[in-house]
């Protein structure tokens, strides 16, 4: 399992351009369930791309278990940190669902029973077990997105990063993603997810990091981040607390980020 640390991270895409990251420092422990929220363009995607080496910092550094990520090869990083892109079409390429999901673990050296069980786990978790021989492009957009998730899930990386995993998912799809996050962290792996869906964030994660203009402006539990005291900071980056949080505040129930916490407080 891997301890992630970012220190004074700055990223400038083009010389003289804006600081997409402007001094980000944070630590993420093994098995943590972290949501990363903020406006489009606040630096969320740029930050996670530093964690798997797709981007190198302009200043500062990322360490995995104390080792500077810049000393690790892309292959070494890929064993530790899996990243699922927002757009599955940038990721999916094989001719069948099975080949797509096998590709990652095969490249990490998995064979035989290990490979079979990694693939079976990923396909079951994403509800695609009946689609092994289907061409990925015959799946609808939402299931193709679950396929992209399955293909990274099968690699069994200690850190799993999801960029907008619930986009385009129906209620059952969102529930699947929530269950996957729980199962993966239950095995001691870390999950970091970027999301604009505040209800999914409050329901699923134990820690929420809020970014604005390349910096972290809030970092705490959903109860802390959606508490009345944080609303001004949230709204400064055009985020709204969940309905449950607003209702709980009006009823004087304290911080109730989820439906379940409102109901518990009223019982």
């Amino acid at each position: 399992m891997v301890e992630l640390h970012a220190e004074g991270l700055v990223h400038v895409y083009r010389e003289g351009g804006v600081r997409a990251l402007d001094g980000v420092t944070c630590s993420i422990a093994p098995a943590e369930r972290v949501a990363l929220i903020g406006q489009n363009g606040s630096g969320k995607t740029t930050l996670v791309r530093h964690l798997n080496g797709l981007l190198r910092p302009t200043e500062g550094r990322v360490t995995l278990d104390g080792t500077d990520a810049s000393r690790l090869t892309v292959a070494q990083l890929a064993r530790r940190v899996g990243l699922v892109f927002q757009d599955p079409d940038r990721q999916v390429f094989a001719a069948s669902v099975r080949a797509e999901v096998e590709f990652g673990p095969r490249n990490l050296g998995a064979t035989g029973a290990d490979l079979r069980s990694a693939v079976a786990f990923a396909l079951t978790a994403t509800g695609l077990e009946g689609e092994r021989s289907t061409n990925p492009y015959d799946l609808g957009q939402s299931r193709r997105k679950l396929l992209a998730l399955a293909s990274v899930l099968a690699m069994g990386t200690p850190v799993l990063i999801l960029d907008e995993p619930t986009t385009g998912q129906d209620a059952r799809g969102v529930e699947r993603v929530r269950a996957i996050v729980e199962a993966v962290t239950g095995e001691g792996r870390t999950v970091i997810a970027i999301s604009h869906d505040m209800r999914f964030v409050a329901d699923t994660f134990e820690r929420v990091i809020v970014m604005r203009a390349g910096r972290i402006i809030l970092d705490g539990t959903p109860a802390e981040v959606f508490a009345r005291a944080s609303w001004e900071a949230l709204r400064s980056t055009y985020l709204e607390p969940t309905l449950a949080a607003r209702v709980g505040q009006r009823l004087g129930l304290g911080s109730t980020p989820t439906d379940a916490t409102v109901i518990d407080a009223l019982r």
């Binding site: 406006q39 757009d87 079409d89 986009t167 385009g168 969102v174 505040m198």
Partner: protein, 269 residues
């Protein structure tokens, strides 16, 4: 102008069963109709059919009739139909022309191709950029924007064409809450100017604010249809796999726990 689908069915080329069956749908001037349903229920297909892209460019076989103010459009070629009906795709990367060097050119691309006079193109382009809150991106390369920003550019490109009918397939999928609000406001403004809009969305909270009617698809058929409030409060929504709007879900959780939802409703807003 009213866009009407009567008894429409559709089957993709090579598919072993139809993707749409018995669809009746009416889009009068200024109406906003929400389209909900679980994944692969046929929402995207209905968007393609209502905009005329299926079967014209997608292929496949269509049944039933599509009319504009009573005139059957079956024989209309795509270029004629696309002056009346605009479509916004789920993935903005598919929408962008790929040939424009700047966001301004990208947004102007549609009206330029409709042979709108130059001054009008410039005016409607700036207006569309302002409506989507992206005037500051006018000089940027559209292919080097974030997914969310591209979605706003694609939406502005549609607005600039000022179509009588607009079909939007999950226009807010990649947007943050602020961008989603902008799209909601743009839809409301277009509708008040008389544009009719069919909008497929998983975000039922957005449909609750913009749609006057909601149609829920399941396995290619209309499962629920009616005024927005009625459909979004229908208990069958959950069984159909559609996410309930936040207030509906909270009220259901309250009832299940033996708490009167009225206690919560007073605290909404």
């Amino acid at each position: 102008m009213t866009l009407t689908l009567s008894g429409v069915g559709y089957r993709y080329a090579g598919a072993d069963r139809p993707s749409l069956l018995d669809i009746d749908l009416e889009l009068p001037d200024g109406a906003v109709v929400g389209l909900a349903g679980p994944s692969e229920a046929g929402k995207t297909t209905l968007c393609l059919v209502a905009s005329g892209l299926a079967p014209r460019t997608v292929g496949g076989r269509i049944r039933g009739s599509i009319t504009l103010d009573g005139e059957n459009v079956d024989a209309w070629p795509m270029h004629r139909l696309s002056q009346q009906i605009g479509i916004g795709f789920q993935n903005p990367a598919t929408q962008l022309s790929q040939v424009s060097a700047t966001v301004f050119e990208e947004v102007a691309f549609g009206p330029m191709n409709l042979a709108v006079p130059r001054d009008e193109v410039v005016a409607s382009t700036w207006e569309a950029l302002a409506t989507m809150g992206i005037d500051d991106l006018a000089e940027r390369d559209p292919l080097r924007l974030s997914g969310g920003q591209q979605q706003l550019v694609a939406m502005a490109g549609l607005l600039a064409m000022r179509p009588a009918h607009l079909v939007l397939d999950e226009p807010t999928a990649q947007l943050d809450p602020a961008g989603t609000t902008l799209v909601g406001e743009a839809i409301a403004r277009l509708a008040s100017d008389g544009t009719s809009i069919l909008i497929a969305e998983q975000k039922t909270d957005l449909l609750a604010t913009v749609a006057s009617r909601v149609v829920v698809l399941d396995e290619g058929r209309i499962a629920l249809s009616g005024p927005t409030d009625e459909v979004l409060n229908d208990p069958r929504l959950v069984e159909l796999g559609v996410a309930e709007p936040a207030p509906v879900r909270l009220a259901r959780a309250a009832r299940a726990a033996g708490i009167d939802p009225a206690r919560l409703e007073a605290a909404h807003g």
